[in-house]
C-alpha cells in the first residue's frame, strides 16, 4: 500500500485544490502516469503516480482542498515476484 502524498509545491503554497482525478477507484495506474491534477490560484499541477498498481482509495475528492504532506489517495502496489 502506497500513500499518494501532496509534496511541497512551492514556498508559500501550503495547500492546493484537487481539480481532477485521471483514474477511478479500482483502475490500474502506471508509475509516473499523471494521477491527479491539483490547482493553486494561477497554476495547475499534475501529480504523477508514485508506483504502478491499482488506485484503491481516493481520500480527497475533486473540489476539495489538501495541505502539503496530507494523503490524497492510496495505491495497492503490484505484487513483486
Amino acid at each position: 500500500m502506497t500513500k499518494v502524498i501532496l509534496p511541497e509545491l512551492s514556498e508559500g503554497i501550503p495547500k492546493a485544490t484537487v481539480s481532477y482525478w485521471f483514474f477511478k477507484v479500482g483502475e490500474r495506474v502506471n508509475e509516473k502516469d499523471g494521477l491527479v491534477e491539483l490547482t493553486t490560484d494561477k497554476a495547475t499541477f499534475n501529480l504523477p503516480s508514485p508506483c504502478s498498481g491499482r488506485l484503491s482509495e481516493i481520500i480527497i475528492p475533486e473540489g476539495e482542498t489538501v495541505n502539503t504532506g496530507e494523503v490524497l489517495g492510496i495505491i495497492e502496489e503490484d505484487q513483486k515476484d
Binding site: 512551492s10 499523471g34 491534477e37 493553486t40 490560484d41 495547475t44 499534475n46
Partner: protein, 212 residues
Amino acid sequence: MELKIINLGLVDYKDGLEKQKSLFLDVKNVIISQALITCTHYPVITLGRSANKKNLLASQDNLLAKGIKTYVIERGGDITYHGPGQLMVYPIFNLNYLKKDIHWFLRKLEGVVISCLLDFGVKAQRVKGLTGVWVKEQKIASIGIAIKNWVTFHGLSINVKSNDLKNFELIRPCGMDITMTAVETCLKNSVDISQIEAAIIRRFKDDQSYSA
C-alpha cells in the same frame, strides 16, 4: 540551454494550444530543452480550472454575433479574454532543470514582463497576493500556467493595443472587479505588438535563470 523561439503570428486559440502541446512533448521527452511561443489570437474567451461561469457576463448569442469562441482549458486561474491586441507568450520550460517551484516560476514570469515594459517607459509592478502585472490598480498582463511532470505550458498575455480592451467587458477578468489597461493606454501612443514581442524574447534570453 538553448531556447527555441516560435512565432506563430495571428492564430486561432485552438491552433496555438495544439502547438503548445506538441512542443510540450518535445520538451518532456528532452528532444528540445525549452521553447517559447509568441503569437496573437483571434478573439477568444478561455475558462481556467478555477473558473466560475458567472464571470462570463455576455450571452452565448452575443458571443456568437461577435465571433468570439469560448474554451474550457487546463490552466490555472479563472476567466480571461484574448484578442489580436494582446501579445501571448507561452513558455514551455522544464522546471526539473530550473527550479521545481510553481510560485518561483510565476514570479519569474512577472519579472520578465515588468522589466520588458520598463524598456518602453511603462512602470508596472506586482500586487501582493495577486498573480499578474499591474500599472497602478489596473492590470496590464495576466498569467495562468499548467505544469505536468514539471514541464510548463500556457503562460501569459500582455495587453498592448488599447482598442482591444473593450471585450474585457464581456467577462469579469480573473473573477475580479478589475480594470484592464494596455501598453498603448499607458503611453498614450501607438505601439506595435512586434516591438513588445522582440523585447520579451530578448528578456527571456537574457535572464540567466532560464539558461541554467
